[in-house]
Amino acid sequence: MSNIPRGVRNGLLGVSLPVYLLLYAPLAIIAVFSFAPSLHHPGLNVAAYGLLANDPQVLAAIRRSLVLALCSAALGTMLGTLMGFGLSRFRPAKGGGFWVGTLPSLIIYLPIIMPSLVFGISEMIFFNYVHQYTGLLSAGLLTMGIAHVTFQAPYVALVVYARLAGLDANLFEASHDLYANGLKSFLYLTIPVVRPALIGGFLLAITLSIDDFTISFFTAGPGSVTLPIYIYGEIARKGSSPEINAIGTLMIATVIGVALLYYVVTRQQGRIGQTSAA
């Protein structure tokens, strides 16, 4: 720090402060305005939260969002973990080559960089066709769940792959060398070693699902209004309100909570050995 020239340091400060301000001021404003006075409630108050708690539409949307997030995250984590293992096993550095190494990883990572608008529209069209010809998959929580799983899994794969790639390549051989057969190696080495990545990936998948609007919007049906879609509808109809601000504040709190949990869990992965029994 001290060897950075004063001028440069001040310049950097001048750039980073506005950036932080732009990042966090809107969040703070939403939180503050969720306590703003309204027609019947003068002065700062929690009336908006009271309205939320008694609004069946909001409660239903929250319930749907949570069900969708938990279910899709569970499935997305399972699939993503398998993908992460596959990527690690056939990574180009291990002699996977283009067809079994590079290409699959490109295909798996593509959804991460694909604009979600494109993704959402194509999913909608796809589900429409399937429904039209088979009668299955009418737009609703199920189609949303499938769509969510498809964008969650690559992120989970990335987290799991990063964990596996960071491990000593001889670890699994060492377990076999020390008399563990395939099953024991899986139970006593693989699972404990990737557990932090599994938990981290699961939490990441939950936040991704709760947060998603674009893909949800295109794959939702009339009966599957989740929280982001509900907010969009409310704002489109009557603009911002203390209730919307309150929902926003709750979501911010939830996401920060999950992010903290993620941080704690991933930080723990180096220290697990000290706490588990012999």
Partner: protein
Amino acid sequence: MTGIAQGPQPQAGPNRGSISLQGVTRIFAGTIPAVDGIDLEIKAGEFFTLLGPSGCGKTTLLRMIAGFEVPDAGRILISGREMQDVPAHKRAVNTVFQSYALFPHLNVQQNIGFGLRMQGVKAPERKTRVDAIMELLQIGPFATRNAAQLSGGQRQRVALARALVNEPEVVLLDEPLSALDAKLRNELQIELLRMQKRLGMTFIFVTHDQHEALVMSDRIGVMSKGRVQQVGPVLDVYEKPRNVFVAEFLGLSNIWPINPGGGAQVDTPIGPLQITASVGAERMAMIRPEKIWMWPTRPERPNVFAGQVSEAIYMGASTQYRVALTDAPAAPPILVLDTNNVAAERSWQAGEMVFVELKPDNVMMIEG
């Protein structure tokens, strides 16, 4: 050894820990063989070193003994038992990996106890044995630490303890000291050797460091291009290398092509050399630089050549000279190594005239 519910059945008898390799071959994806028809007998309780440059196949050979690789041809017998269909986890063989491969989710004690736990050894006995090996290797002070918190030397000890605690028939060591600094390396070489003699297990040690191989081994197998070039006791391999590769890999040497002159003399680029070795198919003469004598005046003995010191490099315990021969200016200068001990009569400066003596007993005949 009691309490073993699963895992390998211990072998008894004098065969325990012997290894027999018969025509062992391993070919990776259609390229040239990594290991090419190796026949090798390793005796029970021996400290055997596989020495060779990187890519010579020594690690692949080790991995086949451990069971991580399957030979494409040939047989591997451990303690007299055919290993063809025995997976790694059923072999009474433990490996110390070059990277140590300590389990990141377990602490030191749990790492060491892993093998016993997988074999179904009950907790009380496990603790006794883990404690004993930790005592032996002085691991106690960091027993509850995590692998990530250990220094290189400590990791090495833990990796060794994790192998030894299982009392395997054979311990495989894949360049276990290569990541350590010179001082620690020397200490651990001695410790490793002491441990092996004390426990009497067969150790197969893989290294590319000829000094390490010379210090530690009962016997050495020198490998190159997937084949064993020479096998023998340390002294034999160093003093009587079979070919140019072995001679050069194990140390410094002077090597000349020869024309057999018949009898006790051969023609070389530096002139005729008297020898005591008999000449068979060999087409090279070799002498180690420390076996050459330097004199200020010409001694009346065979194989004495006049020359001028062209280079003198002081190396502490010894000095390395290059001597350009007066009568063979086209031949490369002779390499001579002279110790700087108290008995050394004198040292030499570049430019001085000397006589070098290649005693006939010290001139070896080797293959190309």
